[in-house]
Structure formats: C-alpha cells, structure tokens
C-alpha cells in the first residue's frame, strides 16, 4: 500500500514491524496540522517548531504505546499538548512567560490601517502568555482552532463543565490584561 493512501493505523503497524522510513508519511501529514496550536500556546513559531519536532520524535519512541493506531493523530496531539504544558512550566520556573520579543507570530505585511489591529493581536498574544496553561489551552482550542466544547472534551478528556469554567476564568483574566487595548 502506498504511503499516501495508507491509513495512520497501517503506517503505525508498518513502523512497529521495523519499516522506520514509513514514519516520514506521518511526519508529513501532521507536521503543520498542530503548528498553529503550538505557536499560540508557546508564543512563537520557533518554540512551536521545537515542540512539534520533539513531539513527533517522542511519538516514534513511544509508538508501541499507541493502543489505537487509527487514532494516531489524537494521540500525537496529546503528546504535543503535554510538551507545551511542560515548556510553560519550565518557563515559569525560569521566570519567563513568552519567548523573548514576542507575542509575536510573524505574519504577512500589514497595511497602515491594520496597524491597530496588529497591535491588539500582539497584546492579546502577550496576554495569553499570562494565563494558566489550562486556560490558554482551552482558549486556543476554542477560539484559534475553532473547536466546540464537546470536541475539546473528547480530545483532552476533560468535562465540558470544567472546560467552560476554565474558559470563563480566562475571559475575565484577559479582560483585565487587555483593558488598555480593547
């Protein structure tokens, strides 16, 4: 079966059987899918790239634990999510919240009329960096990735009620942090 047509489960089983090169198909499929999530969680594309790379390598190392190979995508997401949380905890220990100089995902050139919106965007990026990891996680999944609460619950294992509680606390915190910008 060709790499492009094979299911994730087919590829996982092939890799576990020793065909290491087939893992490149999974890397190609998922390298960018969660990049935006990681970038908004960590505040920069560089940090996101490190996290995605690390998650893909960790997933390979732990592939034998992927009990449902057809659900590799969701399993990889959880590895990346844990990696993002760990990075945030590390930064907190070191007294840093975001990568130096950002809020701050480089984007296309903006016209003058969009400068104010760009500043608000950067301010919100910095404010997201001051939320707790769980608050930022649910905010990014809902308002950046566009997922409904029940889908977030399915992916993360949290209940919808607890997700809403985190989100509502995040709204209040963001209101406080953004009061000079909105």
């Amino acid at each position: 079966m060709s790499g492009d047509g094979a299911t994730d489960g087919d590829i996982v089983r092939a890799v576990l059987a020793g065909d290491v090169e087939r893992y490149a198909v999974l890397v190609g499929r998922y390298r960018d899918r969660y990049a935006r999530y990681a970038a908004r969680m960590l505040g920069s594309r560089d940090a996101a790239e490190d996290a995605v790379q690390d998650a893909l390598v960790r997933a390979f190392d732990r592939l034998v634990d992927c009990r449902e190979p057809e659900k590799f995508a969701g399993w990889l997401f959880l590895i990346l999510r844990n990696r993002c949380f760990a990075e945030q905890r590390r930064r907190q220990r070191e007294g840093r919240l975001l990568e130096d100089g950002d809020g701050a995902i480089p984007g296309p050139e903006r016209s003058d009329s969009a400068v104010e919106q760009g500043e608000q965007r950067q301010a919100l990026g910095r404010a997201l960096g001051q939320l707790t990891g769980e608050q930022r996680d649910v905010f990014v999944l809902k308002h950046v990735e566009g997922l409904a609460y029940d889908e977030i619950a399915r992916r993360t294992g949290a209940t919808v009620a607890s997700l809403k509680m985190r989100m509502h606390r995040a709204y209040d915190r963001l209101r406080e942090l953004m009061k000079e910008h909105v």
Partner: protein
C-alpha cells in the same frame, strides 16, 4: 481590578448567545468582549521545510539504538514448532520449561512500556498451556482478559516475577483462535504489540493468539 464579564456576556463569547440576546444594559459590555475575540490571530503557521528531515534523522538514530534493536528482537512476531511427547506428568514440566526460557529472555527488559509475549506448550488433547508475559514496571495489578474468559478483568491475574517489572501467568486455552488484552491497574488496556491485532468494533484493538496442537508462539 476589572469587573468580570457578566455571565450572559460570557455566553456570547462562547457562541451560545448573540449580542441581540443581551439586555440593553449589557450590549456595550458584549461589544467590548467581542472586540477582544476580534484580536485573536487565526493565521495558519507553517513550520520550516527542514523539520521533516530533522525528525527523520532523530528517528533513524533512535531506531538504531541498541535498546530498540533488542526490544524488536524480543517483540518481533515469530513462529516456533514444539514437538512434544505428551505424558501427564510432563505437562506442567513442559510449560514451566517454556516459561523459564521466556523469563530468561525477558529477564533484562529493554524498553519502558509493555513488552508482552505469549508462549505455548501442549496441555491436553483439546487445550494448550499458554504463558502470558507483560513487562509493566510500576503496575500494581495486571490481568489478562479475553474471549477465553468472557473478558472478565478479574478472572486471570498475572503475578510479578520478582521486582523486574515482568508479570506472568499461564492459562490452559482451548484449541482455536482467541482475542485478548492485558488490563493494567484495572483501567489501562494494553494490546500485545508482538501479536496480530484486530478491531473490536468499538475503535480498540485486541490481540489474537491461535492455539493449535502444533503449539505456536506468535
């Protein structure tokens, strides 16, 4: 300290209500809240083209590590014919001998996580002793559940082999094909990566062992 958003405004942010659903005195607060969401950056993020090569280089390096190669040698599916002359007093002896061989094989676990293995010896005319082995360091309890015990999670506990993290049990299984999975600490189902697997119709995978009179190791 800024006043928290009103609960109805939060429902607007959640997409459950619209501005028009808010009472007039909350409209301004609702508009303010929606401006906040308007600043969310949803632009796609594309990572460096070199990322794939870096990941695959690391993967190849890890795949060549002695630990991983040793694990593959243990976990790779293989088939062994056992030629046994059946005598009643020899039945348990044969099973124990096979168990000892695998215990030696797994005596030095080579990778974290599950490293199960199945060993078979002929038990009787219509059944075969099958030894289940799982490497589960840190587990408090391990059982094996399958079609041979109606998926009863408590019917077949494994016992730890010392403090090595290896758990084992030997069961007499009827000749035929059986599906099974290990249950770690009563909640984590672990399929046997060294055995063939089939879907159970609910999105999970079950391991499969074929028990024949020419006892096989899968």
């Amino acid at each position: 300290m800024t006043t928290p958003y009103h609960g109805l405004v939060k429902r607007v942010l959640d997409g459950e209500l619209t501005l028009a659903d808010l009472p007039p005195e909350l409209r301004a607060e609702g508009e303010d809240a929606l401006r906040l969401l308007g600043a969310v950056d949803r632009a796609p993020v594309t990572l460096s083209p070199q990322l794939d090569a870096r990941v695959m280089a690391a993967v190849r390096r890890h795949a060549q590590s002695p630990l991983r190669r040793a694990w593959r040698a243990v976990a790779a599916p293989r088939e062994i014919e056992l030629r046994l002359r059946i005598r009643p007093w020899a039945l348990w002896g044969g099973a124990l001998a096979a168990a000892a061989a695998v215990a030696l094989l797994l005596g030095r676990p080579t990778t974290p996580g599950a490293t199960p293995s199945v060993v078979a010896g002929v038990a009787a005319r219509d059944s075969v002793f099958v030894r289940f082995v799982l490497y589960a360091p840190g587990a408090k309890r391990v059982t094996v559940a399958g079609t041979f015990n109606q998926w009863d999670q408590n019917a077949a506990p494994l016992v730890p082999a010392g403090t090595s993290g290896v758990w084992t049990t030997t069961l007499a299984l009827p000749i035929g094909q059986h599906q099974y999975a290990f249950v770690v600490d009563g909640r984590r189902w672990v399929a046997d990566p060294a055995a063939p697997a089939v879907g159970d119709g609910f999105g999970r995978r079950n391991s499969v062992v074929a028990v024949t009179t020419g006892a096989r190791i899968l």
